[in-house]
């Protein structure tokens, strides 16, 4: 039995075909598209948040005990993410009575009668601040425990 083995043709024809295909692709490609550049000019805005003004603590009662005036105080729960601090001011002196707290609550504040006098009445405020940014605060209107003056 006779086998006829032909020599493989050289690769040059394949190279020719590949080059021709490349030429075709380049030839049939469309013209380059040129787009206008664009620019937008002006301003944009951003705003800082602000705390709501908290309510003043509620003064429930003022009673005398020996040489002190007992002031019953209560406050509502602050909004989520905020805390309240309850402060008492007599004249130029301010002290923290309760807080900071994220819940509603109540307490009794004891004020020495010797601290009181003409123009010196205990007054209370609620200070609100964010838990995550305590530097910013907002203070409520003032609630005055004028009943303590009746004990003098």
């Amino acid at each position: 039995m006779e086998h006829v083995v032909a020599r493989r043709p050289r690769r040059r024809p394949r190279v020719v075909v590949a080059v021709a295909a490349g030429v075709l692709v380049v030839t049939t490609a469309g013209p380059a598209v040129s787009l206008y550049g664009a620019r937008g000019v002006g301003s944009a805005g951003a705003k800082a948040a602000s705390l709501h003004v908290p309510p003043a603590p509620a003064i429930g009662s003022t009673t005398g005990l020996a040489l002190a005036c007992l002031v019953g105080l209560s406050w509502s729960a602050p909004p989520a993410g905020e805390q309240y601090t309850i402060r008492r001011t007599i004249g130029a002196t301010t002290v923290v009575v309760a807080g900071p707290t994220a819940t509603s609550g109540s307490t009794t504040d004891s004020v020495l009668l010797t601290q009181l006098g003409a123009g010196k009445v205990p007054s209370y405020t609620t200070t609100a601040h964010w838990v995550t940014a305590p530097a910013w605060t907002r203070v409520s209107p003032t609630a005055t425990a004028s009943g303590c003056l009746d004990l003098l």
Binding site: A38, G40, A44
Partner: protein, 168 residues
């Protein structure tokens, strides 16, 4: 097994046929294309004129009531809208920030707000031809200083911006 060599002449003929076939294909495709180009270039006579329009800058306008999202140490979005006077749509892909102003510079100086670095937008902003973008924003574009004073509460900041992009 016996090898039979194909004569050189037969091999040459085969190559020639292949080359002829390849150039035949090339001609079949290139000739109609050439005709097409010829039609474009030779069609019509006389003269006509058309003028390319001049691209106009788009207007960026700060949101009248931006969302109050800044607090000490926090980042927030810059909010605005873009108006396009051009008769083609535009897509912006980068932004550059300029001067910052504060609505209450005495209680909250503008230096408390720091814009992000200039650069590519995370999400391109598209504006329709002769239209408006509506409300758009660039997230985390500005940061309020961690030591920003209490007087910064509720303050509105305005930042100059330049958007860059192209016709789309």
């Amino acid at each position: 097994m016996q090898r039979v060599e194909v004569p050189a002449r037969v091999e040459r003929d085969r190559r020639r046929r292949m080359v002829v076939v390849v150039f035949g294909i090339l001609a079949a495709i290139a000739i109609p294309a050439g005709l097409g180009i010829a039609l474009w270039s030779s069609d019509g006579s006389g003269s006509a004129s058309a003028k390319a329009l001049t691209a106009e800058d788009l207007t960026v306008t700060a949101a009248p009531s931006p969302t109050a999202a800044l607090y000490p140490g926090a980042s927030a979005a810059l909010q605005f809208s873009v108006t396009n006077p051009n008769p083609y749509a535009v897509t912006f892909t980068s932004v550059a920030y300029g001067t910052v102003t504060s609505s209450d510079d005495s209680n909250c100086p503008a230096s408390n707000l720091t814009p992000a670095a200039d650069g590519a937008l995370g999400t391109p902003i598209s504006v329709a031809a002769s239209g408006s973008s509506g409300a758009v924003s660039i997230p985390s574009a500005v940061t309020l200083a961690s030591g920003a004073p209490n007087g910064c509460q509720g303050v509105t900041f305005t930042v100059a911006v330049t958007l860059s992009g192209s016709q789309s």
